[in-house]
């Protein structure tokens, strides 16, 4: 067949490379890379028990590692790391995949860190590998999504069910106790399913006049959610409220409602506090969002890990032998409903 034409091929390649590098450089220069680890040199001469060393590394292991939500958690962990003079590293499985997260966890264990803060994609699947870490002498603490059967020292997080309940409380009240609402979620994701369950149960119990007319799949995607929302608005012309279990779905729903000219008439309650959601609350497109105590999960999680690693906590003598948990085993970091009245506090972060 025809030999590869080097001359024109080279010309094309050069143009492609030049153009690509111009564009990448333009965006690279203007955005600046993110740093996912913090290290802080330990100040000499300090004899505080709460001073670690910069070689001491703690890992945060997540799933869907690219999403905005973990940023809040990691920000808290980094703040603690800075105060303690240790290093915090963010990692995780990029996709919603059990195998990926288990593998990532095993890779982290192999690095023998000072401690691991982990959120589990699936409690049963992650239990063996969490126990593996503890058996290797690495303290492990769960945050956000727990693996309650494992030997983790503590769990810091929000009950997803409670988060759904709080959303239902807010929306039910905002609608005056009657009206039609729809829920948009991504079925099959455990934490989202729990939010929906909490929402539906609370609504049925506290605000029986509010009917949940539909639960639709937004696929964690703005475009799909916008399509589903506009179809819902057509199907239920009296729709008064929408609960979105995920930030991207909230943005998509808000756009669809705006396109239908119903901003303000249809109250949207979304989830988490990414910039787009907060701006939408400010502009009135989204009525409220459920903010979780993510910063605290990261901050206190690392504090607990540090305390365990440095053997600073002695609620009983020899807790290791007696099997007593040295730190509070279940910590509820709480939820806040963010509305126009308090959105500025979150925006300033």
């Amino acid at each position: 067949m025809k030999r590869f034409n080097w001359k024109s091929g080279k010309k094309y390649a050069a143009v492609a490379a030049a153009a690509a590098s111009i564009v990448l450089a333009a965006t690279g220069c203007s955005t600046g890379g993110g740093n996912s680890s913090t290290s802080s040199g330990s100040t000499g001469g300090s004899s505080s028990a709460f001073q670690g060393s910069s070689s001491e590394t703690y890992y945060m292991v997540t799933f869907l590692s690219g999403i905005e939500y973990w940023k809040g958690c990691f920000a808290g962990m980094q703040a603690a790391a800075k105060d303690l003079g240790v290093k915090a590293v963010f990692t995780g499985a990029p996709q919603y995949d059990i195998n990926q997260e288990v593998t990532t966890m095993q890779q982290v264990i192999a690095k023998h860190p000072a401690g691991i803060l982990v959120t589990s994609i699936n409690a049963q699947a992650m239990t063996p590998v969490i126990n593996q870490a503890i058996a290797a002498g690495i303290p492990v603490i769960s945050f956000d999504s727990d693996a309650p059967q494992s030997k983790r020292y503590a769990y810091l997080g929000t009950s997803n069910i409670e988060a759904g309940q709080k959303a239902a409380d807010y929306l039910g009240q905002a609608l005056g106790g009657h009206g039609e609402v729809a829920v948009i979620t991504t079925p099959g994701e455990l934490n989202l399913d729990q939010r929906v369950q909490g929402f539906k149960d609370e609504m049925a119990a506290k605000y029986p006049g509010v009917k949940v007319v539909a639960v639709q799949n937004g696929n964690s995607d703005q475009i799909k959610t916008a399509q589903v929302t506009s179809a819902l608005l057509q199907t239920y012309p009296n729709l008064a409220g929408i609960f979105c279990t995920e930030a991207d779905e909230g943005t998509g729903a808000a756009t669809a409602v705006q396109e239908a000219g119903k901003t303000g008439k249809v109250k949207i309650v979304s989830f988490d506090t990414d910039k787009a959601t907060l701006n939408a609350i400010k502009s009135g497109q989204i009525t409220a969002t459920v903010a979780q105590g993510t910063w605290n999960m990261g901050f206190w999680g690392l504090m607990d890990l540090f305390a365990i690693h440095h053997n600073l906590v002695h609620p009983v003598a020899n807790w290791q032998q007696s099997g007593v948990d040295p730190v509070p085993p279940e910590v509820d970091t709480g939820v806040t409903i963010v509305t126009k009245s308090n959105v500025n506090a979150y925006l300033q972060q």
Partner: protein, 332 residues
Amino acid sequence: MQPVDTAPVNIDKERETWLRRVARIRELTIVLVIVALCIILSFMSSSFLSVDNIVTTILSIVMTAIVSVGMTVALVSGGFDLSVGSVMSMAGVVTGSLALNGVNIWLAAILGLLASLCSGLITGLFIGKVKINPFIMTLGMQGVVQGVAYVVTQGAPLSVTGVPKSFLYLGQGNLLGIPVLIWILAVVVVVSDFIMRRAVVARKVYYIGSNEAAAYLSGIRVSKVKVWIYIFTALLAGIAGILTLSRFSVAAPTAGQGMELQAIAACIIGGASLTGGEGTVLGALLGSVLVGIVNDALVLLNVSVYWQSLVTGFVLIAAVTLDVLTHRKKAN
């Protein structure tokens, strides 16, 4: 090697009409299916045939349709482009992040399009000149370009505020009561359809798809045409990405996820064939509309979310089966 220009003219016209005839038949079938569906759905829901709902349904498929127009060209040539979803996301985030850093939004949009064109150029070069299989190449590019989108955004959707209203008008404005996005789609479809039916290079694409060896032997520079094909596909994906940014004011790195399969499905429903040589821009639009109506119906009829992917998959299989059966009839 002299391209034989005069001899193929008669065969040209014959094949053209023959191709056109089959394509027209396929499009007519789709139109009939759409009309039938609309009638059935209007009985099931009184609001279905309202102007509001029709506009809403078409608005919901604007992005898929724009990407499908590009995908059709790739399919006609016997290939396809799995990277369109990532290119869509990347164009949006490049534009958005530049705008957030003070670059004029229109310049940012041009740079975003330029980034898409680069992606298309690289894809086209490797498929056309280095002759890498389109599946592998575009799958690889999907990863690379998606990675670029993630790196630029550090994983988070960008809230692009403070953008001039003139830019937002594209994605959020109305002209004569119809969303500007639909007008833009109409322009894209009309222009692309015209190019695919009239331009000489378009004819070459059909030849390449029908019989690549014969096309090459008849003097068509197959590698060059292929480069242009994937540039076109990426360009349209980039346009869809920037329009998505304008519509939501948010540039999400995952904006186009899954778009490639939706576009391929829409094109095949609209008459394109995975083996190449067939497909029209109008077919791509009709296929997208059909997919949009089916998605709309799923919500309208309150079909449980767990059944929805089953239904969508079933519709695709039915469409592909129809495609294969008609193909067999043609061959006989």
